[in-house]
C-alpha cells in the first residue's frame, strides 16, 4: 500500500514545486465540416466544436478536484483551417471569418486557446494556404483565443523559402497591427519545421489529418520538480544526475498518463499521446533555466549550456517514455525566454544571446520561442532567422520552431510586458547584417540527402 512518505512527496511536488498538467488538448477533425458555402462551413465548424468539446472544461475541472493536481489549461486543436476552408474561402477576409468562428466556439465551451488556424506548406503553398497565411495578422488581431501556425519545412520536403519570406512579412505586419498591445498578437503564431500533428501545446497545436475524428492529448510539466530533485545531488557524478532526472520525469509523466486516460474515459474520446515536456512559466521555481543552473552553470547561456540541455532533454525522454503508453507531440525541454524567469535573468545578465539560443535549439524541443526582438527588425531578417531554424530542424530530423515578437516601437534595452502566464521579455539584439538577397530568392531549399531513406 502507498505510504505516508510517498503521499507527502506527491503533494509536495504539487503544492511547492509547481507540478501540474499543463494542458488537456482536445483534437477535433473539421474535415467533415467542409463546404463550398462560407456560411454553411462556419455553422458546421461551430456546431462540431461546441458539440464535441461540450464537456471538456467540466471534465478537466472534475479530474483536477478528484486527484488534487492542477490542470492549468483546457484547449482545442482543429484540422488546419487552410484545408477545411479551401473550398469556401475566396479571399483572406473569408479566412478571417473562420478565425472568428473558431474564437466564438472556443468562448462558448470555455477553453482559453484554440489552435489550428494553420497551413501545411513544407513543399509549396496552394492558393488557399497562401490566402490563410496572408490573413494571419488580421485574424490574430480580431480574435482573442485563436492560435495560428505554419509548417514551412520538413526533412522530407526541404524548406519552402517562398513561405518563409511571406511569414517574415506577416510576423512584421502582425506586430504592427497590434502595436498598442506591445505586439502581443505575435505570441499566438509559430512557424515550424517537422511540425508534429498531435502536439497539445500552443501556439503550435493543430489536429493532423492522420488523426482520428477526435482525440485527447495531454501535456505535462514540472521543471520545478526536476530542479528540486537535483538540489539533492549537487556535486554528484553525471550518472547520478541522469538517474535523478529520469526518475523524476517518470513520476511527472505518470500523472499526465493518468489524467489523459481518465479524460479519455470520461469523455468517451480516444487517448492520443502524452507530451513529456518541461514547460516553464514565469512563476518562481518553474524554470528550465534554473535546472541548468542547478546542474552547475552560473547562468543559462554559459559555456556548457548546450551540453547540459542535451542531457536534460534526453533524460526527460528516457524517464518519460516508460511512464506512458503513447508519447508524442513536442516532448522535451522548452526554452522560451519570456515565460521563464531564469532565462530572462540570463538575458539581462548578458549571458544568453540569440545565437546561443539557436545552438540550444539543436538539442531540445522546440526552437526560438517567445523571444522579443527590436520592432525595427526587417522582414527579411526575421525570414533569415526562420530559415536558419528550419535548416536545423530539416537536417537534424527534429521539430524546430520560431515564435518571435518584433515589439513595435521597442529597441534593445527595453522590456516588453505580456502579462500573466506569458510574462515579460527583455528585447534581445538581432544580428543586423543583411540577408535580403538570400531570402529574396524564389522557390525552396531541397530536402537533404539523408532524407532519402526508402
Amino acid at each position: 500500500m502507498i505510504n505516508i512518505y510517498e503521499v507527502a512527496e506527491t503533494n509536495r511536488m504539487i503544492e511547492h514545486e509547481n507540478l501540474d498538467v499543463r494542458t488537456i488538448t482536445l483534437g477535433i477533425s473539421l474535415l467533415d465540416c467542409a463546404d463550398s458555402d462560407l456560411e454553411t462551413l462556419k455553422k458546421n465548424i461551430y456546431e462540431k466544436i461546441t458539440t464535441t468539446a461540450r464537456d471538456l472544461k467540466k471534465t478537466g475541472d472534475d479530474i483536477e478536484a478528484e486527484y488534487g493536481v492542477p490542470i492549468v489549461n483546457k484547449r482545442i486543436s482543429v484540422t488546419p483551417i487552410a484545408l477545411v476552408g479551401a473550398g469556401a474561402c475566396k479571399n483572406s477576409d473569408d479566412f478571417v471569418e473562420l478565425a472568428k468562428t473558431l474564437d466564438e466556439a472556443a468562448k462558448e465551451v470555455g477553453v482559453n486557446l484554440i489552435g489550428g488556424y494553420s497551413a501545411l506548406v513544407s513543399k509549396a503553398m496552394t492558393k488557399a494556404d497562401e490566402l490563410l497565411i496572408r490573413s494571419i495578422p488580421k485574424a490574430l488581431k480580431v480574435t482573442d483565443r485563436v492560435c495560428s501556425s505554419v509548417n514551412a519545412a520538413s526533412t522530407k520536403c526541404g524548406i519552402n523559402m517562398d513561405a518563409v519570406r511571406l511569414i517574415g512579412q506577416m510576423i512584421k505586419e502582425t506586430a504592427t497591427l497590434d502595436a498598442v498591445n506591445s505586439s502581443q498578437a505575435c505570441m499566438k503564431f509559430v512557424v515550424f519545421c517537422n511540425a508534429p500533428d498531435d502536439n497539445p501545446f500552443m501556439a503550435g497545436a493543430f489536429h493532423g489529418v492522420t488523426q482520428a475524428d477526435a482525440v485527447i492529448n495531454v501535456g505535462v510539466s514540472g521543471p520545478g520538480v526536476v530542479k528540486r530533485a537535483l538540489e539533492n545531488v549537487r556535486g554528484e557524478s553525471f550518472e547520478t544526475l541522469c538517474e535523478t532526472i529520469k526518475k523524476t520525469a517518470f513520476k511527472v509523466t505518470r500523472v499526465g498518463q493518468l489524467v489523459a486516460k481518465e479524460a479519455s474515459k470520461r469523455m468517451n474520446i480516444p487517448f492520443g499521446i502524452v507530451d513529456l515536456s518541461l514547460a516553464p512559466t514565469p512563476a518562481i521555481g518553474d524554470s528550465v533555466a534554473d535546472i541548468l543552473c542547478e546542474m552547475g552553470l552560473e547562468h543559462a547561456g554559459a559555456p556548457g549550456t548546450t551540453a547540459a540541455l542535451a542531457l536534460l532533454n534526453d533524460q526527460v525522454k528516457k524517464g518519460g517514455v516508460m511512464a506512458s503508453s503513447y508519447v508524442g507531440g513536442l516532448s522535451g525541454a522548452f526554452i522560451p525566454v519570456s515565460e521563464d524567469q531564469g532565462m530572462i535573468d540570463a538575458v539581462k545578465a548578458g549571458a544568453l544571446t540569440l545565437e546561443k539560443l539557436e545552438a540550444m535549439t539543436c538539442v531540445c524541443s522546440v526552437g526560438l520561442d517567445m523571444i522579443a526582438i527590436p520592432g525595427d527588425t526587417s522582414e527579411s531578417t526575421i525570414a533569415g532567422l526562420i530559415a536558419d531554424e528550419m535548416a536545423i530542424g530539416m537536417v537534424n530530423q527534429k521539430t524546430t520552431a520560431v515564435r518571435v515578437i518584433p515589439a513595435a516601437g521597442k529597441k534593445v534595452g527595453d522590456t516588453v510586458e505580456f502579462g500573466g502566464l506569458f510574462g515579460y521579455a527583455p528585447i534581445m539584439p538581432v544580428n543586423s547584417f543583411s540577408c535580403d538577397a538570400f531570402v529574396g530568392r524564389t522557390g525552396s531549399i531541397p530536402a537533404p540527402i539523408h532524407s532519402f531513406k526508402n
Binding site: 505516508i4 510517498e6 507527502a8 506527491t10 478536484a65 513520476k251 505518470r254
Partner: protein, 90 residues
C-alpha cells in the same frame, strides 16, 4: 473498491483527528488505515478511506474537508488513490 487518500498537514493541536473523523462518520466514509507522524512540530496524517457508501462525490468532500482544514489551521487534501499509485508503483 476505489480508495481515497486524505492527508492532514499542519501545526499539532488538540482535536484534529476528532474533527476529521466526525466528518467521515457524518458522511458514511469508512476509514481503512491511518498513519501519522509529527515532524518538526508539524502534524502529518494520512488516512486511507473508502467513500463508496458516501452520498458525497469526492469533489464535494474534498472541498468540505479543505474548509474544515482552514478552521483548524491545517491543510487537508482528499485525493483519489490512483494518482499516488501511478506515480510510485510500476
Amino acid at each position: 473498491m476505489k480508495k481515497t487518500i486524505v492527508t492532514v498537514v499542519g501545526k499539532d493541536a488538540v482535536g484534529i483527528i476528532a474533527k476529521v473523523c466526525t466528518y467521515f462518520a457524518n458522511n458514511q466514509i469508512n476509514i481503512l488505515d491511518i498513519s501519522q507522524t509529527i515532524t518538526g512540530g508539524y502534524f502529518n496524517m494520512m488516512m486511507v478511506v473508502d467513500m463508496s457508501a458516501s452520498p458525497k462525490p469526492i469533489k464535494e468532500a474534498a472541498h468540505e474537508l479543505a474548509q474544515i482544514g482552514e478552521e483548524i489551521g491545517c491543510v487537508i487534501n482528499c485525493q483519489s488513490e490512483d494518482i499516488f499509485d501511478m506515480m510510485h508503483r510500476i
